[in-house]
């Protein structure tokens, strides 16, 4: 077909290709704000020429495919950063709540309540008459400390079970994302058989992005176009269209609450526990918040409560109450360091009778203030701290004053919260950079598309002109006949 009809054919095909180009451009412009959308490009080439004796005569243009502007390497960096961000955000939120519990900057706190108890012992020592009001002061200060410790403990445990609740809610969400990825896998395998399934891949990439924010995953595309999703530890979650379901089950060995969830993955041999694999993403962050951050804070509080109770009790037992009795505890003796904060309470005798407070060093004489003095002096005494797991009477911790320990908890919590805050800031900058890198490659530029539109418009007009010229030529030919 090298005649005039052949020219009509070339121009007609060119106009179709141009229209397809306009369509691609309009598709790009329409999706300028669609999250995860990758700009699409029409790929065209010159058609194979027709060989005649005089040479090869061109046959116009043809469209090969429409591909998407996509850089898998940038995509991987984005996935990793998203998963990092999910983890940092949930841990940072948890630490903000924890540091609020230990915050003494806006009102009274634990160190403050402890200092006031030592002062109350001191005031009891300065009363020569046996101290009715001063004894009441000691009991109030002690009750205040007990309340403050138990309130802090309750708030930390509340934070811990909040993290647990979020874990239990997050797992079904993750499951539904996994199912949608598997479904898209099926459609992409089917679609690729005809043409590259660009928009489905964009959708799947966006789902993978959501998924890594929730749970740290590794993923790679198979040759058939499906994507395989693995946990950080290598357990497959999605293979082709198959989803290994995630579920939560209670953890009877959890030191804080047997109802706390472990994350299980279905397999042919029944559910397996993959909790230890989940270090990244929001889920990993929540697990760390629950099992490490809040758990550590609760244990620091326990250490404080246990050592306060045992050190005060040790001195108190040596003294005499106004009723002449000795060898009594001041705080109810804690059974172990674990959960000592939760169990902190005044001894029943002290709660019932102010005269039981042992101010006297050698007997019940009302002016004997030696034991009260010794109790007040605990304030500046270094105590070998009993840590969780220590047997009673054999502390393994460093020697510190208890006020120093209370202050160091504030410092430690602050350092941790601060490091997460700055990590989060760094993450935001990194995410911004990687998203810009992605946009640089995959993002839609209106300027670019409009320019392309004008080019296509001109090409369309030129092709139309060719057709009308050919028409004139044909008319001329017909009029000769």
């Amino acid at each position: 077909m090298t005649g005039l009809f052949g020219v009509l054919d070339i121009s007609g095909r060119a106009m179709r290709v141009t229209q397809a180009g306009v369509r691609t451009t309009s598709h790009n412009i329409a999706n300028v704000h669609t999250p995860g959308y990758s700009r699409q490009r029409q790929v065209v080439q010159a058609s194979l020429p027709t060989h005649v004796a005089e040479g090869a005569i061109g046959n116009g243009v043809e469209q090969i495919t429409i591909d998407r502007a996509h850089d898998p390497y940038v995509q991987l960096r984005l996935l990793a950063e998203r998963s990092n961000g999910g983890s940092l955000r949930s841990q940072s939120q948890s630490l903000d709540a924890i540091q609020q519990v230990f915050n003494e900057q806006q009102g009274e706190g634990l160190a403050d309540a402890l200092a006031k108890l030592y002062s109350a012992f001191g005031e009891l020592a300065s009363s020569a008459a046996g101290g009715g009001p001063e004894r009441e002061g000691v009991r109030m200060a002690a009750q205040h400390l007990v309340d403050a410790v138990r309130r802090a403990d309750a708030r930390l445990r509340e934070e811990q079970s909040n993290a647990n609740r979020s874990i239990a809610q997050l797992v079904p969400e993750i499951q539904s994302v996994l199912e949608r990825i598997a479904e898209l896998n099926g459609r992409i395998i089917a679609g690729d058989a005809q043409a590259p399934a660009n928009d489905l891949r964009d959708q799947r990439d966006d789902l993978l992005m959501q998924l890594s924010e929730k749970i740290g995953v590794q993923s790679f595309e198979e040759s058939n176009g499906s994507v395989t999703v693995l946990t950080g530890g290598g357990h497959a979650l999605v293979e082709r269209t198959l989803v290994h379901g995630l579920s939560v089950s209670p953890d009877p060995s959890h030191p804080f609450d047997p109802g706390f969830a472990r994350v299980m993955r279905d397999s042919s041999s029944g559910p397996i526990d993959i909790t230890a694999d989940l270090g990244a993403g929001e889920l990993g962050g929540l697990l760390r918040a629950r099992d490490t951050l809040t758990a550590d804070a609760i244990r620091s509080l326990d250490v404080l409560a246990y050592n306060v109770a045992t050190s005060v009790n040790g001195v108190h037992r040596a003294g005499y109450g106004l009723d002449g009795q000795t060898g009594r505890d001041f705080f109810a003796a804690p059974a172990a360091v674990e959960d000592a904060a939760q169990a902190l309470a005044l001894d029943a005798a002290i709660a019932a009778d102010l005269d039981a407070i042992a101010a006297g060093g050698l007997g019940p004489a009302p002016g004997d203030n030696r034991n009260a003095q010794a109790l007040a002096a605990l304030r500046d005494q270094g105590i070998a701290l009993a840590l969780p797991g220590d047997a009673p009477g054999s502390p393994s911790g460093p020697t510190r004053t208890l006020l120093g320990h209370a202050a160091s908890i504030i410092g430690e919590v602050g350092v941790e919260a601060k490091s997460f805050q700055s990590a989060l800031l760094q993450h935001e900058r990194a995410l911004e950079l990687f998203e810009s890198q992605r946009d640089e490659i995959s993002g839609v530029s209106i300027d670019e598309e409009v320019t392309r539109l004008m080019q296509l418009q001109a090409a369309f007009q030129a092709n139309a002109r060719v057709i009308s010229t050919v028409q004139t030529l044909l008319e001329d030919l017909v009029s000769v006949l």
Binding site: D96, Q105, A115, A128, L403, A407, A417, G443, I446, V450
Partner: protein
Amino acid sequence: MRVTQNMVQRTALADNLRVRRQLLELQEQASSGLRVNRPSDDPSDASRAALLRAEIESGERLAKSVEHARARLETVDTQLGHANDVLVRARELATQAANDTADAGSRRLVAAEIAQLHEQLVATSNLRHQGAYLFGGYATGQRAFEQSGSFADGSPAPVVSYGGDGAEIELEIEEGILVRTTLDGRRVFLGDADGSGSPDATREDLFDVLASLWQSLESNDRAGIAASLDRIARGQEQLDVERARVGGRLTRVEAADAVLSRRGVDLAGQLSSAEDADSVEVYSALAHQQTLLQASLQVTARAIQPSLLDFLQ
């Protein structure tokens, strides 16, 4: 490098957000007056502030303790003064009565006054301060000295016995430093420092001094009266020594008071430097940040708008 609409918007928004976040932080500092509002703002200073507040609390408690110690020692000093007054008056009376011109009748009149002085001394030795008997050691709930018998013609002079435990109550006036705030009444009034039950060789039982003087006056025993004069003098010396002791302790308490108030000012300054915002710094940073926000908003408004479409007809 391709620059797309999304990139421009994202960068503009992110920068805006950062400026606003810093603005919020500065506003918090300006409105609370604190540079450290939570531990993460400055972990080491937050921890230091908690310790400093505990130190200040302890200082305030010690200041109260110092007040107690001072009040108690001053009361003791006043009572020792009263006891001394008693002895001075007894000495005057004994000197008169020892005179040759005195006769049995006038000595008997003097004896009546000595009996009253004895009563005063017992009252003084049972000094109460805020409900506590200060000369009885730790046994502050009961009278330190009990008198048995009374002054009556022909009967033996009354005997005064000690009911306390001889202790001196200590109070903390500086961290770890204790000062004795009461005196051992047995040593002061009975001259019995070692608790043996009888006066030491160099000391006098003040009650007995007056009682035997009364006895001598009653029995018109001039030699006995003259001997009492020496014993009164020794008793006065005994009280002088105790008053000097109290004076020394008061000086120590005053010194502690000065140290405490100086340290209180010091600690308040340290706490302020640990947690307070420098208002000049905060306000200038706030103004700077506000300017930055306006600039950032203006730039954003201009950068987001134009595209090629704005220039095509």
